[in-house]
């Protein structure tokens, strides 16, 4: 899968300026790695950065990380011939402590984004998978949720907005990664039935933003799959790589 035209190297402080206009799989510009994190940059034959990715050993240990788990609930009365299966959402911190893949991004003018991202991922995952003692059981990646052409998120409009009526943009900018944790304090804590959400919000649930398409394809190639969890603000899908699946 990897391509001879590319070369890999560790992230350097100079990359921050280069990547400032890039957008990662979650729709944000990539940031510099923390000391315990591992970040790789993939460069083209001329040494220009084409893609980057970062591996965080454990998520949610400083700021609690929230997601909705998508479950199912059956209500049935056999005697009446009534049977209903409904999808449900439950707020939780299910991925706490797992490893996380962040800032998976490529240059806007990258000629073969999916190929570049796949090559990068493969290089990043190889040592992770080879170290069962330290790697944990899952590698988690959050993807930006679907938005309309005007930039609005139907999932937010159908759920988050009802519990936090103000415009979330300034708060998201102010709190960064902590924003969903603050939002979670206002959200329903018990099981939500999806059928109570407006149709556009239901349609957007677990659907990734178009800009994340190359990242999604690259992740699928590497064995990542949809975890039936979504982000709490925009309903973007959370994918995971089960370490045991790859090892099986």
């Amino acid at each position: 899968m990897s391509d001879v035209r590319y070369s890999l190297r560790a992230w350097t402080s100079a990359d921050e300026a280069v990547c400032a206009q890039w957008r990662n799989q979650a729709g944000q510009p990539p940031a510099a790695p923390a000391p315990e994190e591992q970040a790789l940059v993939l460069c083209d034959a001329d040494g220009r950065p084409q893609a980057c990715a970062r591996l965080r050993p454990h998520l949610g240990l400083d700021i609690p990380r929230y997601s909705f788990h998508i479950g199912r609930a059956v209500h049935a009365a056999a005697e009446l011939g009534l049977y209903h299966c409904q999808d449900t959402l439950l707020l939780g911190n299910d991925h706490t402590g797992e490893a996380e893949l962040v800032d998976l991004a490529c240059a806007p003018d990258c000629p073969q984004p999916q190929q570049a991202l796949s090559a990068l991922l493969e290089a990043l995952l190889k040592p992770w998978l080879a170290d069962p003692a330290n790697r944990g059981r899952q590698l988690v990646v959050e993807l930006a949720g679907w938005r309309r052409a005007d930039g609005r998120s139907p999932f937010w409009d159908g759920l988050g907005r009802l519990f936090y009526p103000a415009d979330p943009t300034p708060q998201r900018a102010r709190w960064g990664e902590a924003w969903p944790a603050h939002l979670a304090a206002l959200m329903p804590r018990q099981t939500l039935y999806l059928s109570f959400l407006a149709e556009p919000a239901r349609q957007a649930l677990g659907r990734a933003h178009e800009g994340a398409a190359p990242a999604l394809q690259a992740l699928a190639t590497q064995g990542f799959a949809y975890s039936r969890h979504v982000r709490i603000d925009d309903g973007g899908p959370i994918w995971v790589l089960q370490a045991s699946t790859r090892l099986g």
């Binding site: 009365a77 209903h84 902590a178 603050h182 304090a185 206002l186 959200m187 329903p188 099981t191 939500l192």
Partner: protein
């Protein structure tokens, strides 16, 4: 002579069947608990007669039905079911409010949720209230509704000390319940009338098994459904107002299907019961002072009778010659129960 003197409340009798049929036909579907079906009405009367007559300890299955007559003509009905959800659970939604706050976001919000509960299982239910429209304005509805409470207080061992009453919820111009459409329908995929048909004679508990046990988050409901929570159908205003005045709480429970208010209170704290007194009967007894309307009832179960009389506020005894006995009949015991109808609230300051 005021027509209020002509009113008499008594247990239903088999001869009342035609009158009950008239009442059942006059009440909108789902509003009254009287079925529009002669056989089922006959059964209801029979069960009531058995309940009044039974000497046994209460099984909880009893339903008591009263009729109100004016000079012998039946003009209304009211009833009591000894134990809500007998043989099964009695479900309601309980209103709950929790505060969700985020200091970081500077937001603190009161979040309204509805919790499916069977808190009211086993409580005594007031049912079957109906009064002919011509009598709505006078004292007749007061007698019809409140005399039941004295009956319950007199025979408390047959009833629960918590009393509740369901009231019809809002429907729109097309006869649809916005609350059902937003909540129940999502779990049935049919309208309420259809659901009732499918469920047939089964208990509401059965339907409730099909509904989610996690709370309903009110902000997720359409506005019309949010508005319908705890809202009364106009047809229920009269009986609802009387129970509110008795001190029933109307803010805690709603019907799980149409969102109408289910009121609830402890018997001993209800106004008519709190203010009830036993009056000794003494020939020639004279009450002095300004007279107010009072409920007056006999203390027998099977031959329970209640009527209205003007009596002085602090009256201690009553003459068997009092005109109230023209309606109540000769007093069967040495005393009667009375409770003032228009008592002022005790005020401390």
């Amino acid at each position: 002579m005021s027509p209020a003197h002509d009113l008499l409340l008594r247990p239903v009798a088999p001869e009342d069947l035609p009158a009950l049929e008239r009442i059942a036909a006059a009440t909108a579907d789902g509003i009254s608990s009287l079925p529009e079906d002669r056989e089922r009405l006959r059964e209801r009367i029979e069960r009531s007669c058995q309940a009044f007559a039974s000497e046994d300890a209460a099984s909880g299955e009893e339903t008591y039905l009263f009729v109100l007559e004016e000079r012998g003509r039946v003009i209304g009905s009211s009833g009591i079911a000894a134990s809500a959800g007998f043989h099964d659970r009695f479900y309601s939604y309980r209103n709950e409010f929790v505060v969700h706050a985020s200091a970081a976001l500077g937001v603190s919000q009161r979040l309204h949720t509805l919790h499916l509960c069977h808190d009211l299982t086993g409580v005594t239910l007031l049912t079957s209230f109906y009064i002919e429209p011509a009598y709505e304005a006078g004292l007749a509805p007061q007698l019809l509704s409140r005399a039941r409470l004295l009956f319950i207080a007199l025979f408390a061992e047959r009833f629960n000390s918590r009393i509740a009453a369901e009231h019809p919820g809002l429907v729109d111009a097309q006869g649809h319940s916005p609350f059902w459409d937003a909540v129940g329908r999502r779990f049935f995929n049919m309208d309420y009338a259809q659901a009732e048909k499918v469920v047939g004679g089964r208990s509401k508990a059965f339907i409730a098994d099909l509904m989610p046990h996690s709370p309903v988050y009110v902000p997720l409901l359409p506005e019309a459904a949010q508005f319908a929570i705890g809202q009364l159908h106009p047809v229920g205003e009269l009986p609802f107002g009387i129970l509110q005045d008795e001190g029933f709480d109307a803010d805690t429970y709603i019907d799980i299907f149409d969102g109408g208010p289910t009121v609830e209170g402890r018997l001993e704290l209800l106004r008519s019961v709190r203010q009830a007194r036993r009056l000794a009967l003494r020939p020639g007894a004279l009450g002095l002072g300004q007279e107010h309307w009072h409920l007056v009832c006999t203390e027998r179960r099977r031959d329970f009778r209640a009527s209205l009389a003007r009596l002085p506020a602090g009256v201690q005894e009553l003459s068997p010659e009092h005109r109230v006995f023209e309606r109540l009949g000769p007093p069967p015991g040495a005393s009667v129960m009375v409770s003032p109808l228009d008592a002022v609230q005790e005020e401390l300051r």
